[in-house]
């Protein structure tokens, strides 16, 4: 007993020792870029994927090195876990800005966190690029220091809904969305567009992130029997929904149209080609170069995911701006970011101020359909 207690004390001491050593590690001639993302909790898969993309970009960049004023630098990423909670995200940002003195910040993945850190980016005068936050209010009204590459939910909806209406001519639509800013925001935006075109709303069903059994929602959908069901949520939940809908024989009568996550290759590995067959999805990326997809596969043994692409693009955009600014002054980097003109994997990346948005990208989403385990563009 006594020995065990001494042992435990020792373990505690060693852990603290490791911490102090790790935090004091420091190298010269590095550009520090911060990354805040959920690495634990129910949104962990997004942070994990974003980090994969950033690692891919990081290796490419450091292989060449970044030269500023004739001096060579390597890039170092300092990353912290936000657990998808605003208070943790704000702590991350303050630590990155004030303790680690990073020059640019990437992240976060959750809109609630993005909304918490965007004013802080402005306060500390450090440019930030969100990886995948989709709520409109992240850049609307936004501020001078926070950038978004992807289209927000309000910008996406008018771009893909006409294609759905043209293709199916639905009379009624149901919505099955995850109960967060992303799911509800997208459902609202799509509903608005649908209503304008005379498509009636049949029902709105929400579920909590981390839910596993959707039969209850699916039975309600079966009863309401809309022509199309618009789904917004993660690929994992979407896959379970498709499997369970298939089981109940709903997919034969009702068309499932998923948000961008349902256009991910991951859906296939999760739901299987059979359950995914015939499902439509909004796609944020078209064709990714084959060698990139292969690199991801070899390195992480993971299917392509948009967070990988977004993370990859985000770091490249940030480093390009640093190189263009030829300075490590965050304000100058911000100015260079505003001039971004970069051909990313997700499309052409530029930042605009328009319609009340600030520093917002204009990438246009498209529609795809799953056929025999392939993404077929429409």
């Amino acid at each position: 007993m006594k020995r065990l207690k001494t042992g435990m004390l020792l373990v505690t001491a060693v852990v603290f020792g490791i911490i102090s050593v790790c935090s004091s590690a420091f190298a010269a001639d590095v550009i520090k870029i911060g990354y805040t993302a959920p690495f634990t909790g129910s949104a962990a898969e997004f942070g994990t994927n974003g980090w994969r993309g950033i690692q891919m970009a990081l290796d490419e960049i450091n292989a060449k090195g970044v030269s500023i004023g004739g001096k060579k630098y390597t890039v170092e990423i300092v990353r912290y876990d936000s657990v998808c909670t605003p208070t943790d995200g704000a702590a991350n940002l303050r630590k990155l800005a004030l303790e680690d003195k990073v020059v640019t910040i990437l992240g976060d993945h959750c809109s609630s966190v993005c909304n918490a850190i965007s004013p802080l980016c402005e306060q500390f005068k450090i440019p930030g690029i969100t990886i995948e936050c989709a709520a409109d209010n992240v850049t609307k009204p936004g501020n001078d220091f926070y950038f978004r590459m992807r289209a927000s939910v309000g910008l996406m909806a008018p771009l893909f809904t006409p294609k759905i209406i043209e293709k199916f001519g639905p009379k009624s639509a149901g919505y099955l969305v995850v109960n967060d800013d992303y799911g509800l925001g997208l459902a609202k935006a799509v509903e608005e567009e649908f209503n304008k075109a005379g498509v009636k709303s049949a029902l709105l069903e929400t579920f909590e992130r981390g839910n596993t059994d959707f039969t209850v929602n699916l039975v309600k959908i079966k009863q309401a029997n809309p022509d199309v069901v618009f789904y917004a949520g993660s690929a994992s939940e979407g896959a379970m929904i498709l499997k369970q809908a298939n089981e109940m024989g709903i997919t034969k009568e009702i068309k499932f149209i998923g948000s961008e996550e349902m256009g991910e290759m991951e859906l296939l590995s999760l739901a299987g080609a059979k359950a995914a067959e015939g499902t439509y999805a909004v796609a944020l990326w078209g064709a990714v170069p084959e060698d990139f997809a292969k690199q991801v596969k070899d390195r992480f043994n993971a299917p392509m995911h948009y967070a990988i692409i977004f993370g990859y693009d985000a770091l490249h955009v940030a480093v390009n701006a640093i190189q263009k600014a030829q300075s490590l002054d965050p304000v100058k980097i911000r100015d260079a970011l505003k001039q971004t003109d970069y051909a990313g994997l997700q499309g052409h990346i530029q930042f605009f101020d328009f319609d009340g948005y600030k520093n917002q990208g204009k990438a246009a989403p498209s529609l795809i359909q799953w056929k025999n385990g392939e993404r077929v563009p429409l």
């Binding site: 909790g41 962990a44 039969t215 209850v216 929602n217 309600k220 379970m240 089981e247 999760l270």
Partner: protein, 285 residues
């Protein structure tokens, strides 16, 4: 009518998962006074073990199920033996709370270990059976059948065997049982192992219907806590009835009231039942 039938059926199937996790929790709770939150994480680890048994080792589903149960039992047994037991003597006032804190810590620990080892990415558990009847797949129906079989086994074990008698004695009055020669250490090890096995079994049973991911144990754990309290301590049948009942009520509530509050109905049922019967529906007084 068909909709009602589907909802009740789905409710029963979800409910049987709650009931399985709750049965082990109930036995542990009523004998050792520990609300063993860690059961929620044994659920997660067992699901991963079952998944790897099928995908990597190519074992048949039944073998994966047994393996998952074994892993759950082993982990629960070890936690009791190495951790909870040291605070059992109750030499200070908050011993029970320390055990609770330890249980919560273990719950965080194992769920995050799964996250660190296998990332947050959900994984698919391959289907082991095709086909459906009346809108329920065979795999789904199997969950209910297996749950009932497991309940009968546990019931027979408790009622008919010598070890079962010891468990029953300990759950009624641990002090008296010890005087009468029941080895309380053995009883504790046994109930923890049974609890872990049931949680692990429940996880592997539903894994092919859902996905396997690190936070998959949260909801079953929460609902199992309610079922234990609703059913009352020390009643095997009470746990089964309340587990299935809660599943059905949630499904019907989601159908006819609002699905946004699907996981909140438990609160109303708890308040209602406990105000009428403060010891649960089937608890001994």
């Amino acid at each position: 009518m068909e909709v009602l039938f589907l909802q009740i059926g789905n409710g029963l199937i979800i409910g049987s998962v709650y009931a399985l996790v709750a049965l082990g929790l109930n036995m542990i709770w009523s004998i050792t006074d520990i609300p063993d939150f860690a059961q929620g994480s044994f659920y997660v680890l067992a699901a991963y073990v079952g998944l790897f048994a099928v995908t990597l080792a190519g074992l048949p589903f039944v073998a994966a199920l047994l393996l998952g149960m074994a892993v759950g039992a082993l982990l629960a047994f070890l936690c009791e033996r190495l951790l909870y037991r040291r605070w059992r003597e109750r030499t200070f006032r908050d011993a029970a709370r320390v055990q609770l804190l330890c249980a919560i810590a273990l719950f965080f620990l194992f769920a995050n270990v799964a996250n660190a080892l296998w990332t947050g990415k959900p994984r698919t558990f391959p289907a082991y059976m095709e086909g459906a009847v009346f809108g329920f797949s065979y795999m789904r129906i199997n969950v209910l059948i297996a749950a009932i079989v497991l309940f009968v086994i546990v019931y027979l074990f408790i009622m008919k065997t010598k070890q079962g008698k010891a468990i029953r004695a300990a759950s009624m009055d641990p002090g008296m049982a010890q005087v009468l020669g029941v080895n309380i250490d053995t009883v504790n090890s046994m109930v923890f192992a049974i609890g872990g096995a049931l949680s692990g079994g429940a996880a592997v049973l539903v894994a092919p219907l859902y996905s396997v991911f690190p936070s998959m144990g949260d909801l079953p754990l929460l609902k199992a806590l309610v079922v234990v309290i609703l059913g009352g301590f020390g009643s095997v049948a009470g746990v089964l009835i309340c587990g299935l009942g809660l599943g059905v009520i949630e499904a019907l509530g989601a159908m006819y009231v609002s699905s946004a509050y699907q996981h909140g109905y438990a609160f109303f049922i708890l308040i209602l039942v406990l105000l009428l019967k403060p010891k649960g529906l089937f608890g001994r007084v």
